[in-house]
């Protein structure tokens, strides 16, 4: 029998037993513990957003609005959108795995600003509380996009509380972004040049740039929205000659790059996982790094494709359409390079790899349908239909959440020091993949056939596909609840993980699982490139 390299004795001292009691968690400056604070909070928000989605899918089983009133339905999809975008997807990978891994991957003892890091979590929680207050105080029915003048002059929900929550949580992103950029610039270990950094670090770096450059524009837009709503200071008010389309420009200048805040870290995760489970050097490392930066850059130039039917000029529309096509070039480079990495690799299909493979397929479909909706003429037909809903769920759930799950399983042994039950994890990955496609593929067809989004009642012809979609959603619920159970189980009953259970490369695998409080006993010296899989014994 071969000795199991995945298990090993637990280290005596590590960051999890370095302190006990509530204060050791809530006042910690250790990036690894702050990652846990975020991890628990975003999981809570994920299931809150999921609950809203469940009610939405239950309502849509029948063509009539028989479970919820139109008003309640509007409030539910707004809650779902706001919670999932700002309180789960945007913070998801950066604040958990980014927080935990970035210092380990660059060979540092912590992030550059540990206190700022803790502050960013408190800011996140305060923003979350405002949003919860908004939800409890009757919710809002503007959708997650807060379009004026509806949100400023007409909507009678708790718009101010929700906008304040989003405004506040923006500063949490900004603080995290600044912290990550400064850490990558100033705290790399000796020998760790830029082109020896793991692609996960490149992805976090590019994401942080987007966070730092885009989020303040959302902040000021929400300030303008708030003064208009509270003080009656007309900024976008058409009766004063104000321009509501201007709000859309400012909003999407942030909110389109925000999509890349969600997907770039996911790409970083997939690069690590694919390379590890193919046991091969990543194909085209430099091109991969530059593609990440290119996507971050192009992300700033395409916001107008959300506004093809909002009354922006046709010439602007054509320009935005062409620029949007450009994004598919670096995205496709990444897909091809991941495939080339798999080619002739010794591929193992453990759970992280299954989730990463889901990412590849689902992101590809989401990306290709993105080209459909970026096409100006076609989008006039597709705009505000379920086709768009299906498209962005393929990117955000099929892409970003699959990668989040891949990261969760890949680094779980490192973070907790425990192995998760592999069989159950594979079952979960397969259920999620099947359930996801059953939920969202029918929505492409529905959208193509003309079913508009954001309605709680629809014509009877659409029922069959909606029933499929709701059935898929129930599978998704099982697929996402399963890990909650077996991962919690593994915290107590899982076998102790060795320092490097996947035989992976990277500085984070050179320290014990879980890592000691100071990460490294002495500062590491880096002699190799990342992904030196062909140099192994």
């Amino acid at each position: 029998m071969i000795r199991d390299v995945r298990t090993g004795p637990a280290p005596r001292h590590h960051y999890l037993n370095a302190g006990h009691g509530l204060a050791s968690w809530f006042l910690t400056k250790d990036h690894k513990r702050i990652a846990w604070l975020y991890f628990v909070s975003i999981t809570g928000f994920f299931f809150l957003g999921g609950l809203a989605a469940t009610l939405i899918r239950l309502e849509l089983i029948t063509p009539n609005g028989d479970l919820l009133s139109s008003d309640a339905y509007n409030r539910l999809f707004s809650l779902h959108g706001i919670v999932m975008v700002w309180f789960f997807l945007i913070p998801s990978i950066p604040t958990t795995f980014g927080n935990f891994l970035l210092p380990l991957m660059v060979g540092a003892r912590d992030l550059a600003f540990p206190r700022l890091n803790l502050l960013s979590w408190y800011v996140y929680i305060i923003g979350g509380l405002f949003t919860l207050i908004a939800a409890v105080a009757g919710g809002i029915d503007t959708g997650w996009t807060f379009y004026t003048p509806y949100s400023t002059l007409f909507a009678n929900g708790a718009v101010l509380a929700a906008a304040t929550g989003v405004f506040i949580v923006g500063f949490s992103s900004i603080l995290t972004g600044i912290n990550f950029i400064v850490t990558v610039h100033t705290m790399r270990a000796p020998g760790l040049t830029w082109f020896r950094l793991p692609l996960f670090v490149w992805a976090q770096y590019a994401t942080s740039l987007v966070m730092v450059l885009a989020t303040p524009v959302l902040s000021v837009t929400l300030v303008l929205l708030a003064v208009e709503r509270v003080f009656g200071v007309g900024i976008f008010d058409p009766s004063l000659g104000g321009d509501p389309v201007l709000f859309e420009h400012l909003f999407w200048f942030y909110s389109h790059p925000a999509v890349y805040i969600m997907i770039l870290p996911a790409m970083g995760v997939v690069s690590e996982v694919v390379s590890c489970f193919a046991h091969k050097r990543i194909f085209g490392y430099r091109v991969m790094a530059f593609s990440i930066l290119a996507i971050a850059l192009f992300g700033f130039l395409v916001w107008g494709h959300h506004m093809f039917v909002s009354g922006q000029s046709i010439y602007a529309g054509v320009a935005f359409s062409l620029l949007s096509f450009l994004v598919s070039v670096p995205s496709a480079i990444k897909i091809f390079n991941w495939l080339a990495t798999l080619y002739k690799g010794h591929v193992r299909f453990d759970a992280p790899m299954l989730f990463a493979m889901s990412f590849l397929g689902l992101f590809l479909i989401g990306g290709l349908t993105g080209v459909f909706v970026a096409t100006l003429a076609l989008d006039v037909q597709m705009h505000d239909t379920y086709f768009v809903v299906a498209h962005f769920h393929y990117i955000m759930v099929g892409g970003a959440v699959s990668a989040y799950m891949a990261a969760l399983h890949f680094w779980w042994p490192k973070i907790t020091g425990r192995l998760y039950p592999e069989m159950w994890a594979r079952v979960s990955a397969i259920i999620v993949f099947a359930g996801f496609n059953l939920t969202f593929f029918p929505q492409y067809i529905l959208g193509w056939a003309g079913m508009p989004r954001r309605y709680h009642a629809y014509v009877e012809d659409f029922q069959l596909l909606n029933v499929f979609s709701s059935a898929g959603a129930s599978m998704l619920a099982v697929g996402y609840l399963l890990p909650l159970i077996y991962l919690l189980w593994s915290l107590r009953y899982g076998a102790h993980a060795s320092a490097n259970p996947w035989n992976a490369r990277g500085l984070e695998w050179t320290v014990p699982s879980p890592p000691p409080e100071e990460n490294f006993e002495r500062p590491p010296r880096v002699e190799h490139e990342a992904y030196a899989y062909d140099t192994d014994a």
């Binding site: 912590d110 900004i174 400064v182 837009t221 900024i235 000659g241 104000g242 400012l250």
Partner: protein
């Protein structure tokens, strides 16, 4: 000056040496200023769009503002920028008294700026040019509705700037106390430098606010 053990420089545990720590602090502040610039940029962009759309109305409305008072305020604020720059230099050279004096001058000039700004707001309130909170709007120039949009921007932009002034003053006051105590000269010099950066940003934004609100229409 003798260095007792308490005066030795303490590097935060995550850094290898003081130089690395200073690089990180400085880069962090610059990045923060980038986000601040982008925060203002959204409001400036909206103002530019409307200026383009309602050029004559906005120019007429801008002529009602106290451009001379605000011009004097610009001089005051830029002088405070000079004072903080001198404080930085003094702190760098270990001259505690001069640094403290520079900081106090900066704070005093900042407070004078806010007082004059407050007087401006007050006189606009009396002239009926505060078109919100159920105030009557007594503007008698052309297209009062579009002009109202201009005054809204005036109050939002100058208000946003004043809020940054208040934050900057609070930071400078803390730094002044630290300079007065002078526990660790090298550290104080870095703190003055980083706070000074923020103050310089507040200065520069005012120059932009002044030009785009008070002067463009003239």
């Amino acid at each position: 000056m003798t260095r007792t053990p308490e005066h030795t420089v303490i590097v935060a545990h995550q850094f290898e040496n003081l130089e690395q720590q200073f690089d990180a602090d400085l880069l962090g502040m610059w990045l923060f200023l980038v986000t601040e610039a982008l925060l203002f940029s959204g409001a400036f962009l909206a103002l530019a769009v409307y200026y383009h759309q309602y050029h004559d109305t906005f120019s007429a409305a801008a002529r009602e503002l106290h451009w001379l008072l605000a011009g004097a305020n610009s001089v005051i604020l830029l002088t405070s920028g000079l004072a903080v720059a001198l404080a930085e230099q003094a702190a760098d050279q270990g001259r505690r008294r001069a640094a403290l004096l520079g900081l106090l001058a900066t704070i005093a000039l900042g407070l004078v700026f806010l007082a004059i700004k407050g007087y401006e707001y007050h006189s606009e309130y009396q002239a009926g040019l505060m078109p919100f909170l159920q105030q009557p709007f007594a503007y008698d120039g052309p297209n009062p509705h579009n002009a109202m949009l201009f005054y809204n921007f005036y109050f939002v932009l100058t208000g946003l700037h004043a809020a940054h002034m208040v934050i900057g003053l609070a930071v400078l006051m803390v730094i002044a106390v630290l300079t007065w105590r002078w526990r660790d000269g090298a550290r104080v010099a870095r703190q003055v430098r980083i706070a000074g950066l923020y103050w310089a940003f507040v200065d520069i934004v005012w120059v932009l606010v002044y030009c785009s609100l008070y002067l463009v229409g003239r």
